[in-house]
Symmetry: C2
DNA sequence: TTGCAACTAAACTCACCGGTTTATATTTTT
DNA sequence: AAAAATATAAACCGGTGAGTTTAGTTGCAA
């Protein structure tokens, strides 16, 4: 007994269900999304949906985990370690800032916050795959660059955190609180250059 | 006609309702809180509650607006402008960091994120009363200190934002994503001194 | 004492939602 | 073509939650 309550991935319309669930969950969050709505958007009957997934929670976990992995993948291929720090950091910031402001990153972040009590694992997984991974990657570069004598850093983890945080200045709060949703290239560049400038003022060789 | 659907503040137990609603909303958020539960915690019948507030939404707005104003009040009396920047900023950061990590600030933030689509005004009001107000206050000090020649800042708004953001390093993310909830004085001091150090490296005279 | 206003508990309406079942139809396999 | 697997619509179940109604109680003021 004790049915494993697992996911049945064999059906013809499995991918349709995933796609529909992704759309609705990203739009409405966990509580906000109704299973009927997901089935309708997926172009599938509710019974079919339930023949793949034992319940709503597992469907939600599946979607968000997939999304987190996809994000980690994207975040990984950002840094070219051969250039001098100022250049590397400027390029990195130029990619980090718009990503942090993207509809996608903002949605996922909000869902994590909203469902943190219901799904503590979700927020933690997102942290590990997203901000945590990015900072780790950055810390490795800073370590290398310090060894080369290009930077002077005693605590690379702290330095990496500070740089990430400097990338959130101004615009991220505006986006998160819904005060402003569109950002000009000038606004972004301003944040990027100031992040690099402040970072280099402290850690530049 | 078109009943104003307004709040009736005259009843004897009005304050009880507010107190109960504050507790339950802060604990469970908007969707998570049931009106029955609020009435029970407030020690009041549901009919009485509905004789004060036309609906749940308005009750929620009332509570959160009150909370935001209270927070703005607290945040205002932080800075003593007569001391040198390094000291002022260290003291400010020492108060800002623990506040950002407090159960209260975290709860309100999460509720704002969770209900951003349902109550866009709520998140914006919180931003204006909280982060926005704090940064404005800090910017004024930086302006003053720059005029005195103690600091060298061309864009004080940007500098204020950077300092606030440096206060969020490491610990705030851990708290927001539920990875860690308790923080030692050492962890906090580490963030504070590094925030001040980095800030002064860029903007110190 | 009477009358009135606030309050109460409890039952009730109505809508929605997660999940199941049923009876039928379509595809795929043999 | 027959059998087996898969999908379907629609009805259904049990539960919950917002908001209303009702019938009765408390307390105060004239």
């Amino acid at each position: 007994m004790t049915e494993a309550a697992t996911i049945n991935r064999t059906g013809r319309k499995f991918q349709q269900v995933l796609d529909g669930a992704r759309e609705v969950f990203l739009r409405d969050g966990f509580e906000g999304a109704s299973v009927d709505d997901i089935a309708r958007v997926a172009g599938v009957s509710k019974a079919t949906l339930y023949s793949y997934f034992p319940d709503k929670r597992l469907l939600f976990s599946e979607i968000t985990q997939t999304e987190c992995n996809a994000m980690a993948e994207r975040a990984l291929n950002l840094i070219d370690e051969t250039n001098p720090p100022r250049e590397v950091l400027t390029i990195a910031a130029s990619q980090i800032v718009p990503f942090l402001l993207s509809e996608f990153a903002q949605r996922i972040f909000r869902i994590c916050m909203a469902e943190r009590d219901r799904f503590p694992e979700l927020a933690r997984a997102f942290y590990a795959a997203g901000p945590g991974m990015g900072r780790q990657r950055l810390a490795e570069y800073l370590e290398l660059s310090t060894a080369r004598g290009e930077l002077v850093i005693d605590d690379v983890q702290m330095a990496a955190e500070q740089f990430s945080e400097l990338c959130k200045v101004k615009l991220w709060n505006l986006a998160a609180f819904g005060v402003q949703t569109e950002f000009s290239q000038e606004e972004i560049d301003d944040v990027v250059t100031n992040a690099v400038e402040t970072f280099m003022a402290r850690y530049g060789a």
